[in-house]
């Protein structure tokens, strides 16, 4: 594929609001995970929550879309000069030539969960004024981002569980290649809700401690929330030093099980291989892999096998989910932005909460943040339904 430049990017999660907060926290090895006290949830687990007081209501013409998910998107879009960068792109390309490709798994589902507690006793109806299109429907997020950024090109929401906001990079690259738009805003937002907390609890996949990816004692995930966005444009021949580019995308299906990964990581490996070939690269070109690394027994074992079989111990690897929690539909963009930061700021993030590496896992795993400067990094995202997506980023020459 033709490289795409990330002209601007931003991230908000439990680790902080905006890039500076993330950079400082990642360098210091901090974690945003806290004991779960979300809404009325009675679950013994840890979560990565963005403080409620940071989530201002959506007001004005967009008030109909007010819900936790869109509040989170609103907060993230206001950071790191992102809206200004999109406004300048709008002047270069025109609003209808910039696509919006956004990922989410649960959109504004929390809003509906709360509405179900206030149904009319007699008729069972939802409360007056419940706005399905702008809060519950997955596309409510795409519509909200388009409106916030004043864009009216092609727009769609990708919802493939935990690979959603990685796959948007593939959609954007193809839409640009096909000439349907000239530039694209990609990203994703997922917010805490009871469906995912109780749903993952029912699958016995929630850890009672902060999640510990690749640790011998790992015992499940910590759910997080967050929002991240990036502006993608076709790379120009002379990009400034330190410019981050998307070089390759790989996508595959496991064809194995709805909620468990293929034990040999066959689908994951196919996606990594495809990301390399779409970039015209080989395994020895990658310096760092940001693993999906959810900290379930099965995910980390399968992913370790897939990465080790393809790369051996050449690249340094880590999962940043001990820092942010598992952002589900937003994990793809969150980890893409972390990779972009690692390239631009010349570091490799470590793995807070992981203490004793599982001796059965073989990749070269980074426990602590290192000052090594990666030139090419890979980000893995794997989701329910066996949906795999791998992104390859590098610095412009």
């Amino acid at each position: 594929m033709k490289p795409l430049t990330l002209s601007a990017f931003t991230l908000t999660s439990s680790l902080g609001v905006g890039l500076r907060a993330h950079l400082d926290a990642l360098r210091a090895g901090h974690s945003g995970l806290t004991r779960c006290a979300f809404e009325s949830a009675q679950i013994d687990t840890w979560i990565g929550q963005v403080p409620d007081e940071r989530l201002a209501p959506v007001t004005g013409t967009g008030a109909g879309s007010d819900c936790r998910n869109n509040r989170l998107a609103q907060l993230a879009l206001a950071q790191d000069g992102f809206q200004g960068a999109v406004a300048r792109a709008r002047e270069r390309y025109a609003a209808q030539r910039i696509g919006v490709f956004i990922g989410t798994s649960t959109s504004g589902l929390l809003h509906t969960e709360l509405a179900y507690r206030h149904r009319d006793v007699r008729t069972g109806a939802l409360p007056e004024g419940f706005n399905y299109a702008e809060t519950h429907n997955c596309f409510s997020l795409g519509r909200f981002v388009q409106a916030q950024l004043g864009l009216n090109g092609p727009a769609v929401v990708v919802s493939t569980a935990c690979s959603s906001s990685a796959k948007v990079f593939g959609s954007a690259a193809r839409m640009i290649a096909a000439g349907l738009c000239d530039a694209a805003v990609v990203g994703g937002t997922d917010s805490l809700c009871l469906t995912t907390l109780y749903g993952f609890a029912s699958l016995e996949l929630l850890s009672k401690t902060p999640c510990r990816p690749f640790d011998s004692e790992r015992n499940g995930i910590s759910i997080g929330e967050g929002a991240g966005f990036a502006l993608l444009e076709l790379a120009r021949p002379q990009e400034p030093r330190g410019t981050v580019q998307l070089l390759g995308v790989g996508e595959s299906s496991d064809a194995h099980h709805m909620s468990a990964p293929h034990p040999e990581g066959a689908g994951a490996r196919a996606a990594m291989q495809q990301a390399l070939s779409s970039a015209g690269m080989t395994a020895c070109d990658v310096d760092y892999v940001n693993l999906h690394g959810t900290a379930t027994r099965s995910n980390d074992a399968a992913e370790d096998k897939a990465v080790y079989d393809l790369f051996g111990t050449n690249p340094a690897c880590s999962s940043t989910k001990g820092a942010t929690g598992h952002l589900l539909g937003a994990s793809g963009i969150a980890e893409a932005v972390i990779c972009a930061l690692a390239l631009r700021e010349q570091f490799m993030p470590g793995s807070p909460h992981t203490q004793l590496l599982d001796p059965n896992l073989r990749v070269r795993y980074l426990l602590n943040t290192g000052a090594q400067a990666p030139r090419r990094v890979m980000s893995n995202s794997f989701g329910f339904g066996g949906s795999n997506c791998v992104l390859l980023f590098g610095l412009a020459h």
């Binding site: 009675q42 209808q96 798994s105 509906t112 969960e113 179900y116 149904r119 008729t123 069972g124 109806a125 939802l126 419940f130 399905y132 299109a133 519950h136 429907n137 997955c138 596309f139 409510s140 795409g142 519509r143 009216n152 092609p154 727009a155 769609v156 929401v157 990708v158 919802s159 493939t160 569980a161 796959k167 593939g170 959609s171 193809r174 839409m175 290649a177 096909a178 349907l180 009871l194 469906t195 109780y198 749903g199 609890a201 029912s202 699958l203 996508e251 595959s252 299906s253 496991d254 064809a255 099980h257 709805m258 909620s259 689908g267 196919a270 989701g383 329910f384 339904g385 066996g386 949906s387």
Partner: protein
């Protein structure tokens, strides 16, 4: 953007498979909206068959209807699934459980609640590791899926199967998001003309101002406006007939997708 149509799948009320639906769409046989009966397809392993809800049965059977008249290998064929609401029933059941005193969410319901559940079951059923995505674009989900599938075809130079499906929510969600009928439509698209391709499709997006193409039959028109996948019916009607046609699909609030359909 130009793609070639190799095969079509269609399942809906009174529209049972593409071969029987063609004469209905072109008006040779009158349209009668009979309830669609869906069973889990045999290609799914028995244990998975028991776990599937109506949306999975609908999406898979629609895709299989298109594959039935195609020589393409299903295990390497890329797919694009698109739906406004995916499994609204499971969503409703989980919300009811969470509003009750006992919040025991069923693990099977939870994994079926993801928007990409049909894509997951599809890959298991057909043992396909091929690329697949699952989209939502509210009422414009079919048009958005067509753009994604077309862009895939053109940029990757590979065929792709587009599967669009939508079905009603139970109450109380139905009152806030009414969807008419249970409807699935599939298109197998290729980047260039083949011995199987029977129509050329030129696809472009335009700023608004033009009205979407309607269906003349009142029953089919009700399905077009009442079900997001129904927005595909004017295109399917054009593909069912012998003539070159230009038609317009609604896309987002202020845009349209214009399609030129040329038999080949």
């Amino acid at each position: 953007m130009r793609v070639f149509v190799e095969s079509v799948g269609l399942l809906g009320p009174g529209l049972v498979g593409w071969p029987d639906s063609r004469p209905v769409l072109v008006g040779i046989v009158p349209y009668l909206a009979r309830e669609l009966v869906l069973v889990a397809p045999d290609v799914l392993p028995v244990v998975e068959r028991r776990r599937t809800g109506l949306p999975v049965k609908l999406a898979l059977n629609t895709g299989l209807d298109a594959l039935a008249r195609s020589g393409r290998r299903p295990d390497t064929l890329a797919s694009v699934f698109t739906s406004s609401g995916a499994d609204g029933t499971v969503n409703h059941q989980i919300c009811e459980t969470l509003a009750s005193a006992q919040r025991d969410v069923s693990p099977t319901r939870f994994h079926n609640s993801v928007h990409n559940a049909p894509a997951g079951y599809w890959s298991i059923a057909l043992r396909s590791r091929a690329r697949s995505t699952s989209l939502c674009c509210f009422d414009w989900s079919f048009a958005a899926g067509l753009l994604e599938a077309g862009a895939y075809c053109v940029s990757e130079g590979e065929p792709v199967l587009l599967i669009s499906y939508d079905l009603p929510y139970p109450e109380p969600m139905h009152a806030v998001r009414p969807i008419t009928g249970t409807l699935g439509a599939a298109l197998l698209l290729a980047p260039s003309a083949t011995t199987d391709s029977f129509a050329m499709l030129d696809v472009q997006t335009d700023r608004g101002g033009r009205a979407a193409t309607h269906m003349v039959d009142p029953g089919l028109e009700a399905l077009r406006v009442g079900n997001p996948t129904g927005r595909a019916l004017p295109l399917l009607q054009a593909l069912a007939g012998p003539n070159a046609t230009t038609l317009v699909l609604d896309y987002l609030h202020d845009s349209v997708v214009t399609l030129m359909v040329s038999p080949c």
